[in-house]
Subunit: 187 residues, 2 copies
Amino acid sequence: MNESPRRKELIRLAAQLFVQEGFDRTTVRMLAQEMGIKSGSLFHHFKDKQEILAAVIEEGTQNALIIAHQSIEQYPAEPEARLRAMARAHLETLFADRNAHVVALFEWRRLDPAASAHLSHLRDAYEALWVEVIDDALQAGLIHGDRFLVSRFILGALNWTVRWYDPNGPRTPDDLADELVGMIMAR
Amino acid sequence: MNESPRRKELIRLAAQLFVQEGFDRTTVRMLAQEMGIKSGSLFHHFKDKQEILAAVIEEGTQNALIIAHQSIEQYPAEPEARLRAMARAHLETLFADRNAHVVALFEWRRLDPAASAHLSHLRDAYEALWVEVIDDALQAGLIHGDRFLVSRFILGALNWTVRWYDPNGPRTPDDLADELVGMIMAR
DNA sequence: GTCTATAATCGGATAGAC
DNA sequence: GTCTATCCGATTATAGAC
């Protein structure tokens, strides 16, 4: 994979537009303008529009995976801290980390089957990390319920924040993460 | 508003396509074919594609509001039963009730500003119902946290089920609702 | 209320010069 | 690596006959 700084920057700009407008409504002309080139030149960097989407989603998922890993390895044996760290990392990649993860979550369906198959292992690895952390929390008695359902409910609550959370409001993403963990913890 | 059975049926078919393909990727030709007419004829029933979306979203939100109302009024003074009933009603309108509510949740952004302004009172009424039920549960000590955050987290967890829940699998929507309520209830 | 035909525009993508 | 020019299929929407 070509990972030049130039390409990375183009992917960042594309991610921003995809979040603002949605993938389907973002035209190659809009993408080109944002990148400061003409639409014809864009196809020198990417084979087609699909490849841009795949690149953004790969970037977003990989990033989420890396940040989550870094966050929880600080607490090898503290289930509550790990759970909190996962939730914080998730929101950090959604709101502080410039859109690519948001695209990965909300535009995954727009990937063509080949790209989806190629990237699914990344998404699976990220979800596996969640299930692992949830498992620890369950065994420590911090939370209760079915492991898959609990992780999906938590991820759903976190993902949906994209639709209503205002980063310029009074609360930080970390506040949200802590509130969510507090809501589900047994007392 | 024209609410003939014919129109209702067309709205139902449109909702189905919007969920399957997304609003942007659903063409008027696809809509017309599903309705058994030619694309030109479609504009006899709706002014434009936007009006179809607005009609579907109005139908879906109104329906969710009605079902939720009916569900909780059976338990005037039981906070836990009311909370459970709201969660069940939400999933019922998402999965059993033919797609319009899903469109309302996932394609709201595609409404033009005028339609969005016109329909927002419906959405607000539905969310107010949730906050009311959440408030009762908080005061009864069943759950804990900030009223707005709690309701948004719960709605997020429920809405995201659309992305992963398989209605043909072993669990019923009611199972999901009960698991979610169980997860957040203080013990 | 539905049809056919078509206008008008926009979309992704390519070719070839620089 | 970027530009200009352009192809061509698809899309929303309209007009007018039946």
